[in-house]
């Protein structure tokens, strides 16, 4: 579904949701040893960048 480029709102929404999961103990899907940060938002952004994000956007059908 997410064939089109994400809008900035979709990006923010998805990163926020993933960061919340990470902060509550979800296992990162990327190697974070080289990231130099344990901020869940940074990890979520890296996941998105590496295309390892386990979440997807659901666009409004209206």
């Amino acid at each position: 579904m997410a064939a089109k480029k994400l809008t900035r709102f979709e990006k923010a929404r998805i990163i926020g949701a993933r960061a919340l999961q990470l902060s509550m103990g979800a296992v990162p899907q990327v190697d974070i040893s080289k990231l130099g940060s344990i901020d869940p938002i940074d990890i979520a952004m890296l996941e998105l960048k590496k295309n390892k994000m386990p979440l997807d956007v659901k666009r409004r059908t209206v």
């Binding site: 809008t7 900035r8 709102f9 979709e10 923010a12 929404r13 998805i14 926020g16 949701a17 994000m53 386990p54 979440l55 997807d56 956007v57 659901k58 666009r59 409004r60 209206v62």
Partner: protein, 384 residues
């Protein structure tokens, strides 16, 4: 540079441009004599700029448009409420005019038309003057040389000024025909005409005679309905007519009139004669020229959004109580605007259901609003 070539380059870059943009690119390429590589680069840059200019899904375009039109509007109030004369004609401008447009008034305060002519006639002053006199209102009083009320004989005699008739490019026979049709008791001897009143009661004879005198003087011998004064102006190499009052339907039927450029500032008339799409364009044009005339520039897209909202239903409707805000589907959205009690009471009597799809409803309820980040949902990706 031909259009197809540009289209091919655009297709290669995997984008889609509006038709007008493609024509402009082709035009620019022609003017600057671009080679293939340069054209490629141009299209690439335009693609970037075009993407930057677009809005993303979920942006609050309505709010931005409201602010972008509203802020310059506050600037207008300070130096407004006076009329600026465009060549002897009074035209409402500034904030009052803008309010008129947004309210979609049926009767605007100063309807006016700009009439232009086809190429073959536009430089022909004689032709334009003739048309102008057919459009503009001319009454019998305008072409009189002499006017006498004779109380002894109980009649009135007038003399038509032939010079004035010629000057106004009128046909003498037509005038006479009009007079004969309007008044039964009339004797015609070339330029000298004499009228007799129909007296029912001898007591009111003088009054009848005076009434007849007024009637004779005010007899309209030429002109289109709803149009008053006309002004003929030379604009560059061509002649154009500007009118007080407006009747687009009748004027467009006249010979020699350029149907593509002749316009009116009455939006409802445009809708009636040419349809909603034309009305939409008229709203955009009127709103923008009103702002521009005040030295304020607003991005067209804001005005276009307003015009789109006003015409989306297939008929022009106003913004406000009787239009967009008053016809919203949600009870809560309507109640938050005006007449809160009335809407809530009516909705409860009818048992209306609110589906909470809009912004206002969700703010009232205290939920995240479907806008920006709030307009997207999150789901788990399926495992590959």
């Amino acid at each position: 540079m031909d259009i197809e070539k540009v289209e091919k380059v655009v297709k290669k870059k995997r984008t889609k441009f509006p038709e007008k943009l493609i024509y402009e690119i082709a035009d620019a390429a022609e003017r600057h004599d671009l080679n293939d590589k340069e054209l490629d680069e141009l299209v690439k840059e335009i693609k970037k700029a075009n993407q930057r200019a677009g809005v993303e899904n979920g942006e609050a375009v309505g709010t931005v448009a409201a602010q972008s039109v509203g802020e310059p509007g506050t600037q207008m109030t300070m130096r407004t409420f006076h009329y600026a004369g465009v060549a002897e004609l009074n035209v409402t401008l500034g904030l009052p005019r803008l309010i008129e447009i947004v309210d979609a008034r049926k009767k605007i305060s100063t309807p006016t038309m700009g009439i232009y002519f086809d190429e073959e006639y536009s430089a022909d002053e004689e032709f334009v003057r003739k048309i102008a006199n057919r459009i503009g209102k001319i009454i019998l009083n305008d072409i009189l040389k002499d006017f006498n009320v004779n109380y002894a004989n109980m009649n009135l005699s007038i003399e038509i000024d032939e010079d004035k008739v010629n000057d106004k490019r009128l046909e003498y026979d037509e005038i006479i025909a009009k007079i004969e049709k309007a008044f039964k008791k009339v004797e015609i001897d070339k330029n000298l005409l004499s009228f007799e009143p129909t007296i029912t009661d001898p007591k009111h004879a003088i009054r009848e005679l005076r009434l007849l005198a007024d009637k004779v003087r005010d007899l309209q011998i030429s002109g289109v309905k709803n149009i008053g004064k006309v002004v003929i102006r030379k604009e560059g190499a061509e002649w154009a007519i500007h009118t007080e009052g407006s009747n687009l339907g009748a004027v467009l039927k006249m010979e020699g009139v350029d149907k593509t450029r002749t316009s009116t500032n009455d939006i409802h008339e445009v809708e009636k004669v040419l349809g909603v799409e034309a009305a939409r364009n008229a709203i955009i044009h009127e709103a923008q020229s009103t702002m521009e005339e005040q030295g304020l520039t607003v991005d067209v897209r804001h005005i276009m959004l307003v015009a789109d909202m006003m015409t989306a239903d297939g008929k022009v409707k106003s913004i406000g109580r009787h239009g967009i805000s008053g016809e919203k589907a949600s009870v809560l959205a309507r109640a938050s605007f005006e007449e809160t009690g009335k809407h809530l009471l009516r909705a409860s009597i009818r048992g209306e259901v609110d589906h909470l799809t809009g912004i206002i409803e969700n703010i009232i309820i205290g939920q995240p609003i479907p806008l920006g980040t709030g307009s997207v949902g999150v789901i788990m990706k399926e495992k590959k």
